[in-house]
Symmetry: C2
Subunit: 340 residues, 2 copies
């Protein structure tokens, strides 16, 4: 068990294992290519709740409960919850904390929130005697649309580069008990702002941050792209992923078939009308907690890098004409023998 | 150097020291009782900036620069910035991160944000090979008023229990180089919600959370109230502090002269018309980074507990009739010989 700083922003970690994960998603996400890989798919967007904000809390609550149950844990086995969401003042995470009553560290880095939580959680479990940490992130299409864009009832025309905020919660329990899934390293990203101003094209705005963090991680860890079976960025979507691939080509590190994007693959582009793809803190969280962990567990992959990306703007900064600061945090997970 | 879990939510820490602090405040805060103890007092609320949001970023930027300069550090000496603020999507902290370019972990727990950051920072510095961490929090009266309440131009009547969001930034650099100020312990709080619904009486809503965290800290550390020269809650203000004192009386742990509140003492109640007192993430951050650290450094105090409190609601949850979940995080700081 331990943590060692490697280079500028990366920490090599030993003795930290994923104890359990869970993903609960909405109907649209359930109809997408990953549909079978989530723990639970809601039949609707949560109309049984009095508000979509309460529905978002319900998603998170269910994901927590499933993750605990899969591992045979009770809440008192968790020493710390590290979580966040997209809503103003992080209300989904904070309100659900009324019921679980565990120490809470609220975090925010937009759609990179889950990876930030996994990074901080792994550092704490790996070194700081915080034995077991619950990491979480959640988003809901309807709450995000009305907070960041327009009420759904308006039925406005979405641009081709616009992302579709996922109705999804993803959680992971990190602990010191050996399991096949080890958190091997984390890179906490810096803010990168290339001047993008369009909140309807966040993929392009975030691609430079993803590139920066991936290269930082490889450099600090002495790795190459091909050391990974898969590198999944967060919510770059179709446009952002192409931009990231172009950066790689132009800057001498061309990506290969290992490069994927959670948002791009969450929906079927042709049949689901989601334009650039999925986004929201729940997107990379649920894709990781469901399908990606599944590929590692099944043995299809040995090593994964999740590079969740976040656009750190607000409606206020957009209205004031500001550019969009972006960030990406990376975690490296490997499948290994239980006693490795 | 190390971290040991003590009880349910508290960690005893060794080898973590405050390297530097800085507080930059607005004119009203400068005219208050602590006026001389801040590093810089602005002559106005930042009218040289194109918006109050930019002014809030300016406060934070200046506090960062002063803290670095006092210690002879450059930004590259900082391995990680942990910070947050009150604005939607934590924009003040995230936008200032464009200039410093250090790895960033954005956090949010409303007015308890600074203590959450100090807690996480101390855990990381104490055990996880993250050698030097910058912790920060900031708020601005004008940005908070228009986000949470009404535009200032409306000139509305404030209720007697309403708090005055401070125009203030407070930062602290944590590191492993021994200094006279050691971070000895942290308690990360849980959400406590006693059913308060009035965002104009957050002191009363937050008092139970403050009580819960103080008692948890004392129990886990095997301490008594009198082991502290001072216990400073965050933003309970006049009403909240009286409620906390009443809890202590009724529940068998009566507080004595060691109990204070940052928000209560930031302004002069008689002359400054701030009703319940100061609030906002910058309140406890600046009071800690300026006057409280001053009392420790001068030798007037040997041991301090800072218990920053946060009301985790949003305008949306208020409008939906929800109660206000509250939280409090505690840090214990001691003055000791450099080679202790």
């Amino acid at each position: 068990m331990g943590v060692r700083r490697r280079g500028a922003a990366t920490y090599a970690i030993s003795g930290v294992y994923i104890q359990s994960t869970a993903a609960v998603v909405g109907p649209k996400e359930g109809q997408g290519p990953f549909g079978n890989a989530f723990d639970r798919v809601w039949a609707d967007e949560g109309t049984r709740y009095p508000s979509f904000e309460k529905a978002e809390q319900g998603l998170l609550q269910e994901a927590y409960e499933i993750a605990l149950k899969k591992r045979g844990y009770e809440w008192h086995d968790i020493q710390l919850v590290i979580g966040g969401d997209l809503l103003d003042q992080v209300i989904s995470t904070n309100f659900v904390a009324r019921s679980h009553q565990r120490p809470l560290a609220g975090i925010f880095s937009a759609c990179a929130t889950f990876a930030e939580g996994m990074g901080l959680g792994a550092l704490l479990v790996g070194a700081a005697d915080v034995a077991t940490v619950m990491v979480s992130s959640v988003s809901h299409h309807a709450t995000a649309e009305r907070q960041f864009r327009f009420p759904l009832e308006l039925g406005y025309q979405r641009t081709p580069t616009a992302a579709w905020t996922a109705t999804a919660a993803g959680v992971a329990i990190l602990g010191q008990t050996p399991t096949p899934l080890a958190v091997e390293a984390v890179t906490l990203g810096r803010v990168v702002d290339f001047g993008g101003k369009d909140p309807n094209d966040m993929g392009s705005a975030m691609a430079p941050a993803a590139y920066d963090t991936i290269m930082q991680h490889l450099q600090d860890m002495g790795q190459r792209l091909t050391d990974f079976d898969a590198i999944y960025t967060g919510d770059l979507g179709h446009f952002g992923l192409r931009m990231l691939q172009a950066y790689g080509e132009q800057l001498g590190t061309p990506f290969g078939s290992e490069l994927h994007d959670c948002g791009r693959e969450l929906y079927d582009q042709k049949s689901q009308d989601t334009h650039n793809g999925g986004s929201g803190p729940g997107c990379s969280a649920s894709v990781f907690a469901g399908p990606l962990v599944g590929k590692l567990t099944s043995g299809e992959w040995t090593r994964l890098m999740l590079v969740a990306t976040g656009a750190l703007y607000s409606p206020t900064t957009y209205q004031q004409g500001e550019t969009i600061p972006c960030i990406a945090h990376a975690i490296q997970i490997s499948r290994r023998g239980i006693h490795a």
